[in-house]
């Protein structure tokens, strides 16, 4: 038997990065809203097949977008630092009329390449939807102190007709916002969306100090991942040789989709009560939220009142 020739290069065995966003990070919750917004737009306008619009999600480097790729698979391109918006401008030159280019960067990328934000804002040929993750507020990467930016003033001077601030944990409202922005993009308007959501960890601390008890998620036994977990336990016990071939998740919708450690590990004790899952449509209708969440309000006073009622 002839010997099989050795491949010239050994293909590297690579592993995807595990979920490693900071607990309670809102960044990729916005990206879920972007996609959901487009889905709702197509549904509302009864667009099907080739008539449907499609998001081209052009991201900058940064943990929010990298995680957006690693686990959510929403991201279409990531190139070099500060490149998101300018790559998006290039794509607009060569993509179809049915593709809506949405760019996303942290405020690091924003400040790194302010030029590109300006190019997109001043370009009369195309619309622009630029999502900025405001790290100063969200405290990405463990509380670094980036350059504080006044997006409201800068956005307008850079050519954007409107700067809209959103709380990333209000995923349902944000999906509605992005749905409405599609039409504005098609009319060549420029909109900057700043994801301002305050840090959930800080909010938890403040609510505790005010004596407010926040709620947490709960899953029923119908949850596909819970069922799968039971099956995995059985397999680990009875057929360990097959265990290594099993996927990590069966559903991936809520935990992976919303970038939530608590949902992913099915551990309500580490739930930050951000409330995203409350607005998220579970495929088996087995996800609920008990008690107060920051999706209801981010005002401590209001939460206090709500907890009394």
């Amino acid at each position: 038997m002839a010997a099989t020739p050795k491949p010239a290069v050994q293909e590297e065995v690579t592993y995807m990065r595990p979920v490693s966003n900071c607990a309670g990070c809102g960044d990729t919750k916005v990206s879920w809203s972007v996609l959901e917004g487009m889905r709702r737009y197509n549904k509302e306008h009864k667009l099907k097949g080739k008539d449907r619009y499609e998001v081209v999600y052009v991201a900058d480097r940064g943990c929010g977008n990298l995680q957006g790729w690693h686990d959510y698979r929403i991201v279409d391109t990531i190139f070099f630092m500060g490149s998101g918006v300018i790559i998006g401008e290039g794509i607009k030159e060569s993509c179809s009329d049915k593709q809506v280019v949405i760019t996303a960067s942290g405020d690091g990328g924003y400040n790194f390449n302010l030029n590109a934000i300006k190019i997109a804002g001043k370009n009369k040929k195309w619309g622009a939807i630029n999502v900025i993750y405001n790290n100063f507020v969200i405290r990405m990467t463990g509380g670094q102190i980036p350059l504080e930016t006044d997006f409201d003033k800068e956005g307008v001077s850079l050519g954007y007709e409107e700067v809209i601030h959103v709380n990333p944990f209000h995923v349902n409202d944000n999906a509605e916002l992005f749905k409405s922005l599609v039409d504005r993009y098609l009319k060549k308007q420029k909109v900057m969306v700043v994801a301002d959501g305050v840090c959930v960890l800080d909010m938890m601390r403040d609510t505790r100090a005010a004596g407010v008890k926040m709620g947490h998620f709960a899953k029923t036994e119908e949850c596909l991942d819970l069922k799968f977990a039971t099956e995995k336990e059985r397999m680990a016990r009875e057929e360990p040789e097959k265990f290594k071939d099993l996927p990590r998740f069966k559903c991936r919708q809520c935990g992976i989709g919303l970038r939530c450690h608590a949902l992913l590990n099915n551990d309500p004790s580490i739930c930050q009560a951000c409330g995203s899952c409350k607005q998220f449509p579970c495929v088996t209708d087995c996800l609920a939220f008990q008690g107060l969440s920051f999706a209801d309000s981010i005002s401590i006073d209001q939460l206090k009142t709500m907890s009394k009622t």
Binding site: V9, I87, N113
Partner: protein, 420 residues
């Protein structure tokens, strides 16, 4: 749309910059981006005029512009909008990676196609057609190679999606209007590891540019063309005939999602870097050898038993052409070297090793003299490496001039060759 339109514009005075524009237009370039700077501003300036962003203020842009308008040529030029080189390259990258159309294979075999395109989202195409989109040109002066290095190096990580991107660098090696004396051959060849050419004449540069688009688009790699200061500004009179590829210019637009390629993270790029070095680069060398003359290079032989090989590049090559027309130069060459074989190429990187080994085995070559201009020994080092690695019994000697003579230096490249 008609596939190709031939436009005869008669005798026209053009510069080296115009010659590159000419080549880009013949290739059907649809999007151009740049950040201006001497000596290459005129290149994008001309595209801006042709796209209607600026007034057409010279004979070249007036003649060509009128003809292209009639042919329905699509051209978008970004100059004022791209505020620096990284953004010019970034926008060009974005426009290039959209592969909304396809074309028949022209250069690749089925096996080679699988190597280049097989792992992309287009890999399941039974007909093994080439995914294509807008052809794009970006340009900057040599300093732009530094500021856009991140963008350009990243471009090499998304091969083959960057096929159809041409990058022009205007090198001001004597710092006539720059703060560094720099030779971008080293950046393109050694740092970006991108196929790169040093153009040698405004009369024929357009052919090299046009044909680079055709070949490297299939190979899925960007390519660079470098012009020195003199070439960029030098004017010649040519019979200006445009064979415009209107099919390439009018391709369907669409972005195809392939995040395994277009999201540049370690797990994605590491296997591709290895593949580039071990498999793609050797294949590209082979294709370059197969299409050596198509890419504007040639092998010339004087005498039947050459012991000396001359490798002449850029302005050395242009002057060396005179040997073919001037009997006295021919005699000086013979008395200096005896019989010679000359590899007269625009190609800087990657050198087609098979071509050299073929010539060395065919002729009793004892030494290779390399003539290249600038501060880098890119061709010399590649040939030295080849000779050592393959154990060839040939000496490789550097006969480079370590600078770019200024126009008023009246430097004679042919005299330098004959005095070597």
């Amino acid at each position: 749309m008609k596939k190709e339109t031939v436009i005869d514009l008669g005798k026209t005075r053009i510069s080296g910059n115009h010659a590159i524009v000419w080549g880009g237009l013949e290739a059907g370039v649809r999007v151009t981006t740049a950040y201006p700077g001497a000596p290459i501003s005129e290149l994008q300036g001309t595209y801006e005029q042709l796209a209607g962003n600026l007034r057409r203020d010279n004979v070249f842009s007036q003649k060509v512009g009128e003809a292209l308008d009639k042919a329905g040529y699509q051209l978008t030029a970004h100059w004022g909008t791209t505020t620096n080189e990284p953004n010019a390259v970034g926008m060009a990258l974005g426009a290039t990676i959209c592969k909304g159309d396809s074309k028949e294979r022209e250069f690749l075999t089925e096996e080679e196609w699988s190597l280049v395109w097989g792992e992309t989202v287009f890999g399941k195409d039974d007909k093994k057609r080439i995914p294509v989109g807008s052809r794009v040109m970006t340009s900057f002066k040599h300093l732009g190679g530094n500021t856009a290095a991140d963008a350009l190096r990243t471009a090499m990580n998304v091969i083959p999606y960057v096929g159809g991107l041409g990058i022009a660098s205007g090198d001001d090696r004597q710092a006539t209007s720059s703060q560094t004396q720099q030779d971008n051959k080293v950046l393109f060849a050694m740092h970006y590891r991108m196929p790169v050419f040093e153009l040698h004449s405004p009369v024929v540069a357009h052919r090299t540019v046009r044909n680079c688009y055709r070949l490297f688009e299939e190979l899925g790699t960007p390519f660079g063309v470098i012009m020195n200061y003199n070439l960029a500004y030098r004017e010649v009179t040519v019979d200006l005939t445009l064979n415009v590829d209107l099919e390439a210019n009018g391709r369907q637009k669409s972005f195809k999602k392939d995040p395994q390629y277009l999201v540049t993270i370690g797990p994605h790029i590491r296997p591709r870097e290895a593949k580039w070095l071990a498999r793609l680069l050797p294949m590209i060398r082979k294709k370059i050898k197969e299409n050596y003359e198509f890419l504007g290079s040639e092998v010339v032989q004087y005498g039947s038993k050459p012991k000396t090989m001359l490798v002449v590049l850029g302005p050395f090559r242009e002057d060396f052409k005179m040997v073919g027309h001037d009997e006295s130069l021919r005699r000086r060459l013979e008395s200096k070297f005896g019989d010679v074989v000359a590899v007269a190429g625009d190609l800087v990187f990657p050198q087609p090793e098979e071509l050299y080994t073929e010539l060395i085995s065919k002729h009793p070559i004892e030494r290779i003299l390399v003539f290249e201009e600038g501060y880098t020994r890119v061709v010399y080092l590649q040939l030295l490496d080849m000779v050592n690695r393959l154990g060839l019994n040939v000496k490789v000697l550097d006969r480079t001039i370590p600078y770019e003579p200024r126009i008023y230096d009246r430097f004679s490249y042919i005299d330098h060759i004959l005095a070597a």
